[in-house]
């Protein structure tokens, strides 16, 4: 038999068939994904940019981005035309036309106005979360990789952190609820408490140091998200620290640098791209999460932005907005998708919010993917 004989036709067609099946599987995944993006964009884009709707209109629906969510009022006017207005506009409408005919009035909660509150809330949650998670995460990674003696103990900690990265986000939410929301964590100095003391009260300076729990608040939500993303950030940072060749450190130390000088000048700069990628990835994960903030931070309706008219929450040394609950994009979508029946009037809010939210998260995700590919190409030792 000739060993260099080319494959039989049967073999060839079998191979070709197999390859086509595998390619088909791949492209079906891509097709489904692109269909989801397309479907959401098709419905949501006209809400954000009415130019693209069938009726046409302005380029950007600024109202949608700059108004707070409100109740939507649907009604039929004198000519029998169906109208829908956010509740504040509706009140103005009835004031302006006191004898206007309003028939078949129907209200839909959360479905009118815009998404300013949720957008701001999500941004703040991500900010609080990332500040905490990055500071603690990077420092912990530096310690584990640069300072700690690489023994069994550190190995075990590393393993524990890696395993925690796979824990479902709702479990972190559960923990956050018990620990940040309900557990008295925040020391507060108060005078004039009388006999009505909580369990733990340390008397000092003529008053008492007591501990308060945070309740449903921006800070509790941000910390819960930080705890959730911490294992991911530690693991990713450690990986990029490990990727810096040992020679860099040895050369630097041999030149007489102190440990910190070595880390600052010879390790961190080369690990920065990896850390940056990890943080953008962290933002993507955190911004998209709903479960951990459902009962630690988010509320469905709030009339004001976090920094407007401070509320009296009693934890005086913290800015009020940190201890106040917020609206958040994912929770807003959950509320309008799950609790509000979909009609022509309410669909705009649903589709628009989903589209803007997806756009936001996808932007971060694309940046993180781009950064990773870019740096992988660029940094090779």
């Amino acid at each position: 038999m000739n060993p260099f004989q080319s494959s039989s036709n049967a073999r060839k067609s079998k191979d070709a068939f197999g390859s086509i099946v595998l390619a088909a599987l791949t492209y079906i995944i891509l097709g489904c994904t692109l269909f989801i993006f397309y479907d959401i964009a098709k419905k949501g884009l006209p809400v954000l940019m009415p130019v693209f709707s069938e009726k046409g209109g302005e380029v950007l629906n600024t109202d949608f981005l700059t108004r707070m969510p409100e109740t939507l009022v649907e009604f039929t006017d004198a000519e029998g035309v169906k109208q829908s207005l956010p509740s504040s506009d509706f009140i103005e409408y009835t004031k302006a036309n006191p004898d206007a005919v309003v028939e078949n009035k129907k209200t839909n909660a959360y479905s009118g106005g815009g998404i300013k509150g949720p957008l701001v809330g999500t941004a703040l949650l991500v900010l609080v979360c990332m500040v905490v998670a990055l500071v603690i995460g990077i420092a912990a990674a530096v310690y584990l990789n640069e300072y700690a003696k690489q023994g069994r103990f550190v190995g075990m900690i590393r393993l524990a952190i890696m395993n925690l990265a796979g824990v479902p986000s709702i479990v972190f939410g559960l923990f956050g609820f018990a620990f940040f929301c309900l557990f008295p964590l925040i020391p507060v100095f108060e005078t004039g408490l009388g006999t009505d003391l909580p369990k733990v009260a340390i008397p000092m300076f003529g008053g008492h140091l007591i501990f308060k729990s945070l309740g449903n608040s921006l800070l509790a939500g941000g910390l819960t998200l930080a705890v959730m993303v911490l294992p991911v950030i530690i693991a990713a940072c450690e990986e990029s620290l490990k990727a810096v060749p040992k020679g860099f450190r040895e050369a630097s130390l041999a030149l007489g640098a102190t440990k910190w000088q070595c880390i600052r000048t010879a390790v961190l700069p080369y690990a920065t791209p990896g850390i940056l990628t990890a943080s953008v990835l962290g933002v993507t994960r955190v911004a998209g999460e709903t479960a951990p903030i459902m009962f630690t931070a988010a509320v469905a309706l709030k009339g004001k932005l976090p920094w407007d008219s401070p509320s009296d929450n009693g934890i005086f040394w913290m800015p009020d907005f940190l201890t106040d609950s917020v609206q958040a994009m994912p929770y807003h979508i959950y509320t309008v998708a799950a609790r509000i029946p979909r009609t022509d009037a309410t669909a705009a809010m649903q589709d628009g919010s989903v589209f803007v939210f997806l756009l936001m998260v996808m932007a971060f995700a694309s940046v993180s993917i781009y950064l990773r590919i870019h740096f992988r190409k660029k940094l090779k030792w």
Partner: protein
């Protein structure tokens, strides 16, 4: 120069700058480890505390006799399933065998109702006019009344014709059971319809008689089955009432001491004498007992055992008679299927009733209850019922089954796609394809789950239901689907979520197969495809297994998609439907936490039950992670 090696720096409290930096990093590491440790601690604490509390709760359940009432409740539940099957089969058969007849009867009802509403005033006039004709005595009066009646009658006839002209077949006959010919016949018959007498026209009456006669046997069987439960239902209601009263009293008794004290304290600081006396009186009214006299209260249940026995025996007999009386010939396979399910279920139910009766006969209110029972009734309990006026049950089984079913479907769908894509991208695709496909699949992982859930409600649910209603697909088990939000819908969306995880890890595993392996295979004359399928993939199998496991971990921990799309019905899916079980709604472990956590009070049994569910999830995900790592370490290749 020795100065180069001299380390300078201020020291504060004996800590140099280098040490301070070191402590900063170490401190942060400490904080993160502590927080991550606190997670385990908190979960474990709340979850473990659940079990003693659950045990006390179950003790009260037993002592108050509610556990006995629960026998009757579960028996009724099981029986109701058979009963509703019988009803379902009956109506379906009636619609299919006598569709036109039922269509005529129902359309007549709808049509006459509409006309009646539209012409209410006219009909009243007509009625009055007729009364007047009848009441009229004098001859002249009579002719006058008759003339008036004729005028109104003529007006009515015109009105009726106009209304019939307007009638829309689609809205009246909403199920579309009538053909054009029957519709016209009905309209023709309706012309004769008299709104005052409101007798159906002969056509409709004949149709009704025909369908009633044809369905007579089935109807008798159905009513026999339906009547089988009446006695037990009565007993069930009685038991619930009596035992819940005992429980309410027992619960009130627990707080008696503190209530008494509160009234007493109140009376001391009350401002007026009147108030003081009133509060003192209230305080005196409350008697504080050392122990609640369960033995005395439970006596009301005496005699229930006898009643229970007779009720169950009667139910067995009636059920048997009813099932035997069911007809054997049906007009469609669906009804045959439904009836055969009744025939299958009835003997199972009879056996169950017997067992339950025996068990209830052995039941003692004062039988001690061990912690094992508390643990096992959590892990294997079939009910999760909260905020109930009777008793709250915390059984994990329905939630666990829901989570597992959804995850298994997600994996079954996701594995072929992601594994195929991984093989294709790593070994067969060109570089241009690779740089395009990989980022897109990674992007899937970043789609927020709440967005996917929204897509599932709005688009996928509708699409699936439409597909399931296509007639030539009706052989698929579970089709046509009853619910838009169900296990299948959630499973498909979660499959998409699992794809990036499984794909990336599989791709890594395939990438790590040493080049020499495939080179050897190619050198021996294997084709490229053969090499990939017979050498590369089997070598990477450990990595692929680990990828599947981690994909499973990702799917079972997913919350928002299942909360939005799985249908949130807390019940063990009906496995008697075979593969059709996947078109039923379900609830999940993650979903229940998300749904109920917001409204529980701290430290209550419900709060802790949710933590126990959380601990189960936590343990599952840890086990999955650890075993995936093990698999890779033991069998994996590191290139």
């Amino acid at each position: 120069m020795a100065t180069h090696f001299k380390r300078k720096g201020k020291r504060l409290l004996g800590v140099g700058r280098q040490d301070a930096i070191r402590y900063f990093f170490g401190g942060n590491a400490m904080v993160s480890i502590l927080v991550l440790g606190a997670i385990c601690g908190f979960l474990l604490r709340e979850a473990v505390l659940f079990f003693p509390q659950h045990q006390r709760d179950l003790e009260v359940f037993r002592l108050t006799g509610q556990e006995y009432a629960n026998f009757a409740i579960t028996e009724m539940d099981e029986y109701t399933e058979v009963k509703s099957l019988a009803n379902q089969a009956f109506y379906q058969e009636m619609n299919e065998a006598y569709g036109i007849q039922r269509g005529l009867v129902d359309s007549f009802g709808a049509l006459s109702g509409n006309i009646y509403d539209a012409g209410e005033d006219l009909i009243e006039e007509l009625e009055d006019a007729r009364d007047e004709v009848e009441d009229a005595e004098a001859e002249g009066e009579k002719t006058l009344a008759q003339a008036e009646l004729d005028a109104i009658q003529a007006k009515w006839d015109i009105f009726l014709r106009a209304e019939l002209e307007k009638a829309d077949r689609k809205t009246i006959d909403s199920f579309g059971r009538l053909g054009e010919a029957e519709w016209q016949q009905l309209l023709k018959a309706m012309v004769e319809w008299d709104p005052v007498e409101d007798e159906p026209p002969a056509l409709v009456a004949a149709a009704k008689a025909e369908s009633d006669e044809g369905m007579a046997t089935f109807d008798t069987a159905r009513t026999t089955i339906a009547a089988a439960g009446s006695e037990l239902a009565r007993l069930r209601g009685e038991l619930i009432k009596v035992t819940t009263a005992i429980k309410d009293e027992a619960v009130a008794d627990k707080s008696a001491a503190s209530r008494k004290k509160a009234y007493l304290d109140g009376s001391l600081v009350a401002e007026t004498e009147e108030e003081r006396v009133e509060l003192r009186r209230k305080s005196d009214e409350i008697t504080v007992r050392e122990e609640f006299p369960y033995a005395e209260r439970i006596k009301v249940l005496e005699g229930s055992r006898e009643k229970h026995k007779t009720a169950v025996e009667a139910m067995k007999v009636d059920l048997k008679a009813g099932v035997a009386a069911l007809p054997t010939e049906f007009s469609s396979p669906e009804v045959t299927e439904l009836v055969s399910r009744i025939r299958d279920k009835a003997p199972v139910l009879t056996v169950y009733l017997g067992e339950s009766l025996m068990e209830s006969a052995d039941w003692r209110y004062d039988e001690p209850l061990s912690w094992v029972y508390s643990v096992s009734s959590f892990f294997f309990g079939k009910d999760w019922v909260t905020n109930s006026s009777f008793h709250d049950f915390y059984g994990l089984l329905p939630l666990f089954t829901g989570s597992l079913l959804i995850s298994v479907i997600a994996l079954l769908v996701a594995i072929p796609f992601s594994l195929g894509a991984a093989i294709y991208v790593n070994r067969l695709a060109g570089p241009a394809e690779q740089t395009f496909i990989k980022p897109v699949i990674e992007l899937i992982g970043a789609i927020p789950s709440v967005v996917l859930g929204f897509f599932g409600i709005i688009v996928l649910g509708e699409a699936l239901r439409e597909v399931s209603q296509v007639p030539w697909l009706s052989w698929v088990p579970g089709f046509p689907m009853q619910e838009r939000l169900n296990i299948l819908n959630a499973g498909l969306l979660l499959a998409l979520m699992a794809v990036p995880t499984i794909f990336t890890l599989c791709e890594d595993a395939i990438n790590n197969v040493p080049a020499s392996f495939s080179e050897a295979s190619l050198a021996l004359g294997g084709s490229k495809f053969q090499t990939v399928m017979k050498v590369v993939v089997p070598t990477a199998i450990s990595g692929i297994l680990a990828a599947i496991l981690l994909g499973f971990g990702r799917v079972i921990g997913e919350t928002m998609v299942v909360l939005l799309v799985a249908g949130n019905q807390i019940a063990i899916p009906d496995f008697s439907l075979g593969a059709g079980v996947i078109t039923q709604p379900a609830h999940t472990m993650t979903g229940i936490i998300a749904q109920e956590m917001g409204e529980v009070t701290k430290d209550t049994i419900h709060y802790r039950a949710l933590f126990s569910v959380g601990l189960v999830l936590f343990t599952i995900s840890l086990l999955i992670n650890i075993s995936a790592r093990r698999i890779i370490r033991r069998f994996g290749f590191s290139a």
